[in-house]
Amino acid sequence: MDDLVTHVCDLAKRRGVDFADVRAVQRHGESILVQDGRADKLATSSDRGIGVRVLVGRAWGFASADSLQRRRAEACVDDAIALAKASEAFVTDPARLAAIEAVEAQDRVEPEVPPGAMPVAEKIDRLLAWEHAGRAAASDGRNIVNSIISYAQGWHEETLANTAGTLLESSGSRAVATALFVATDGEILQRGTEHRGIVGGAELLRRIEPEAFSVRAAQKALAALDAGPAPAGRFTVLFHPSITGLLVHEALGHNAEADAVWAGESILEGRLGEEIASPAVSVYDDSTLPGHFGSFAYDSEGTPGRRRPIIEEGRLVAYLHSLETAAKFDAAPTGSARAESYDCRPLVRMSNTFLEPAGTDTGVPLAEMMRGIDRGIYLEDGHWGYVFVQKGQFICHAGQAHMIEDGQVGEPLRDVSISSLTLDVLQHIDAVGDDFEMKMPGMCGKDGQSAPTDCGGPHVRVRDVVVGGQHTL
């Protein structure tokens, strides 16, 4: 694909664009779904194509085609230029780009198990074994009524060239596995889930131990049968690391994406250097962590990934940048521009985002955090969240929870959501643990695109969080 993208870049130059980048992508995916003892949905997908982004004067144009044929790729150049020219007269915020350090590199991340090396039958057998182990957790008249184990793997090859001289070849693979069990006591239904995801391939199937995966998911579903509905109102809340991860991703991370800040939509606009969080809070986004689901070596504009500070000791120190937002903020690109595939423009995205654990000298142990709570809620098993960056309002959903009474873990609670304002909750963190966990692989959505991410942190304690329960105490 090198020749193709180089040719298309040269063509764009000859057409007189101010800047162009070209991404040629080939992707393959496979998925296996095991349900109720049967592998009954096996799927594959493959796609390839080219995306051409041009800057003409003040305006961007972007065109894509599902082909790697030279003729189609050349047509994309003309289409993209026409698109830019059609909108240029109405652009009020002219596009700019930071100085680009041209990269010529190959970034190939080979999975331990190469694509196709593990037979489909072996994968099915492993998934069936996990499912069987999970179902065996049921007892005492409590039944698993439905179980779904899914595995999916995707691998890609991508070649990027731009008119500044970058030529970057990359390839890699990601794999995910999910276990979902639904349990009943004859009256109610409850679900339990577990997710795993890696940068890698079918080695994930060999790494997963059923006790920590499918059995745990089944046990969550069974345990939830004994849980009562959560109370409603404002509580001091103890966040499990998975909830901490959701918090820093949803509540903070999306607000720190510089495209949202530049667009005037983020509540963090104009707050660089300000103390926006408790001094115990430091948050980073790091795409260089080996094996984590959000990791990558170069972003979709060819900027190397890195560890990016967002908050240090409570102070907002930086945003996440693309080439364009870096220019507009007079900052350095942070390697945060990611595109889902050839037919998408790069957007500013997170990678692996986490709240830094406190040091052993300042960290508050979990038991001590709990001792400080007369009546509160311990939220576990982070599931999902979303945010309105314009309002700084977010929601996080926990799959499990417990009451905290007089500093002790109390009654189990069903799944429940919390909501708050970002700047409130960051200020209301009054204890940060010295533990750490980042096991929240997932696909983050933004403007119709998905990006693999991870998030996590230590246990933290937060005052005055609104809990969306079903009754008042």
Partner: protein, 444 residues
Amino acid sequence: MTNEELNYLDLARACVDRAMAAGAEWCDVAAGTARDISVTVEKSGIKSADAGRGEDVAIRAFVRGGMGYAAVTGRDRQAIDDAVDRAVALATEATADPDFRRLPPPQPAPEVEGIFDDAVAGLSVAQVVAIAVANIEAARDMEADVNLSGEVALAVGRGALASSTGVALESRATEVSAHLSALLRRGDDAGYFYEFDFGRNLADCRLETVAVGAVEGARRFLGAKRIASGRRTLVLGPLAAYGFLGHLVAAAGAESIQRGRSFFCGKEGERVADACLTLVDDGLVPRGVRSGAHDGEGTARHPLTVIQEGRLAHLLHNAYTAGKAGTESTGHGTHTGGISPTNLRPALGDRPADDLLAEVDDGIYLESGEIRPDPASGDISASIDFGFLVAGGERVHPVESAMLGGNVFDLLGRLDAVSSDARTEPGILMPTLRIRDVQIAGSE
């Protein structure tokens, strides 16, 4: 050969033949092409203009009931043949499934008027940009400092479906939309709202004035205040009600019920809501955004009453779940094997939304927001994203940091009114709902 010249029905039939020759016992293939244009608005200006074009072929093969599925983009014939072979190979590896009965046979499909619009298909990039610019100007005329963002977009597609049972269908469709949000900042206060319009026909839309609704909404949501916790009447405006009812209809998909994982398990024919609720799913509404003559498996669509005066009357079936249940598919199958609702049309009540609100002494009016029951337990724990405190029948002020909680059956049982008026989008009806005695969590 240009994209417009390829005969997708011939391609789909050829793929079916290849799959059957390779050992598939049943097979269907969807093939088609789509192109799209989108213009992005940011910071009350044009950010970029994008265009894309693609072709897809998706093959579903069955061996002893096990399903293999392969999807491929582009028109490279070798890649398509490889995908067909992979689908058959995967079906062979899948576990036998005795619950699979058959794929749908050919059947007369009704004509659905207004699915394709030459006016949409003929829109140029400059015209899409002009729609976006009209919105920017309209928004600025209302509030000079408004921050408008969003997208104006169109999609044009055509395709075919062929199967080993003899299904041979061709279709084409258009869709055009504007999704815009307006943000107003007044000191530390922010008012934000989102508005949209969409349709299959340009004449059904008012795309140039979507921003007006967004700015009006942003004005309404200035001055949000915290509220105390308590039990209150909840009024769901058209957008919030549509989202909530959409989750109900999706939960009536037969697969999740047959598998035992839905809060609707064991409820078929039972009372699940107050008798004021009747919900019809109708995929045949002329010009409807989710209308079509047939579903993704080739089954002819027809209107289906999902909830009849509070009773769960009918489930949504695809070919697999219908075969398992010994009934007929309701025409809600997707080509990937799932089940998907179409146009949602609740039966309207006898009093307008304003009258329903006027009777609320202490309540919350949720203009827009996600009320998503847990698919298994039916528990609800949702943020009041765009809501107002209601007192004495009036919306008093927007609320911040508030949530609502309950169980889906509690809420449906306390539903006491559906409005006689409704927001309409092509094919879709969105009335207002009123629910008594709902737990609200506040932060005051």
